[in-house]
């Protein structure tokens, strides 16, 4: 085996036996190209088959492998062990979510939030035939493109103190998703009823950490502040539909 190793302190929570998570330590090989996820897979395959965590694509696109690594929400497939020098590295489930088991958190609440913002193209009138696309220029595409990049990894929620204190807060990714459709030239809705709420955009105090931790540069903080302007203008100038 490789001479160099690094210690991973991994949070374990087995609901049948533990009252709260406890850290368990494992030594794994330290290789320059190993991500934190490779370390966890090594544990599961060779040291302790009972460790549970989610992962799939290991290329930063499926959004399953978000965890709290040394206090920061990170995608573990894109975070290298070598970043942590001699270690140890503390790996915990994403903060702010109920823990189902070990590193697996409950994301059903998050999904309900996503669905609540009507994340689909809202059109009026009849569906056009499937012979031609709606026209959309590159500039119009650019207006929302960045907000369409969200992989639903929930790191931004974990980083947002408002969300962690108040789980009802609609939160960064869901609002960014709403803006993704609001700013799409093909969409005809402004989602005012679901966004102009205490628990929606007005709950955000612009901490900005959501944007700092987002691995896909979605910039949800910007999406929210922009909607605040939209909502405020719409309230003051009732005729300014969108």
């Amino acid at each position: 085996m490789a001479a160099e190793t690094i210690r991973l302190d991994v949070a374990r929570y087995r609901p049948e036996e533990d009252a709260e998570p406890v850290l368990q330590s494992y030594e794994v090989p330290l290789r320059p190209d190993w991500a934190v996820l490779d370390g966890l897979a090594h544990i599961k395959d060779h040291l302790d088959g009972t460790l549970s965590f989610r992962w799939s694509c290991r290329m930063g696109i499926c959004g399953s492998c978000g965890m709290d690594v040394d206090g920061e929400p990170r995608l573990t497939c894109g975070t290298f062990l070598a970043e942590y020098g001699a270690g140890p590295v503390r790996i915990e489930p994403l903060k702010g979510f109920p823990v189902i088991r070990d590193l697996v958190v409950d994301i059903d609440g998050f999904l309900a939030k996503l669905s609540s913002v009507r994340p689909w193209l809202v059109r009026e009138g009849e569906e056009p035939p499937l012979t031609a696309e709606y026209a959309q220029t590159p500039a119009q595409l650019d207006a929302y493109k960045q907000y369409s990049m969200c992989i639903n990894c929930m790191l931004c929620y974990s980083a947002c103190p408002v969300y962690v204190l108040d789980p009802d807060f609609l939160g960064p990714a869901a609002i960014a998703l709403a803006q993704r459709y609001n700013l799409d030239s093909r969409d005809m809705d402004d989602r005012f009823d679901v966004l102009n709420l205490e628990e929606a955009v007005w709950g955000c105090t612009f901490v900005g950490d959501c944007t700092r931790v987002c691995p896909k540069h979605v910039d949800p903080a910007e999406a929210i502040q922009r909607y605040k302007v939209t909502a405020a203008l719409r309230s003051v100038l009732p005729w300014s539909g969108r």
Binding site: P161, V162, L165, D166, N196, L197, E198, W202, T205, K228, A231, A232, R234, S235, V236
Partner: protein, 115 residues
Amino acid sequence: MTVRRRLEPYLWLLFSGGGVVAALTLPVLVLLFGVLMPLGVVAWPSAAHLRALVDAPLVRGAVVVALTLCLFHAAHRIRFTSEELLGLRRWDALVAVLCYGAAVAGGVTAITLLF
């Protein structure tokens, strides 16, 4: 709840407006009146000059609006920060009344002083 929902955009507008006014004006004013003049680095203007500055009703109005906006800005932030730091989310209605109430009181004080 629905009342607060309808109020929220206005409160935010006041907060933002106040933030801009506070950013543009307050640093130079504290620098002059709070630091440089008391330390004697620059001399206090004469009482007459100061009175002349706020003599025009338009200027007085502007001063009242500016100060009130700044107070709203502070009230809004204090409301949320206290809730976040102390976990007072549940008491939001009360905190809000206290904070914005104080801002309104400050505005009224400004009016009585200037008019």
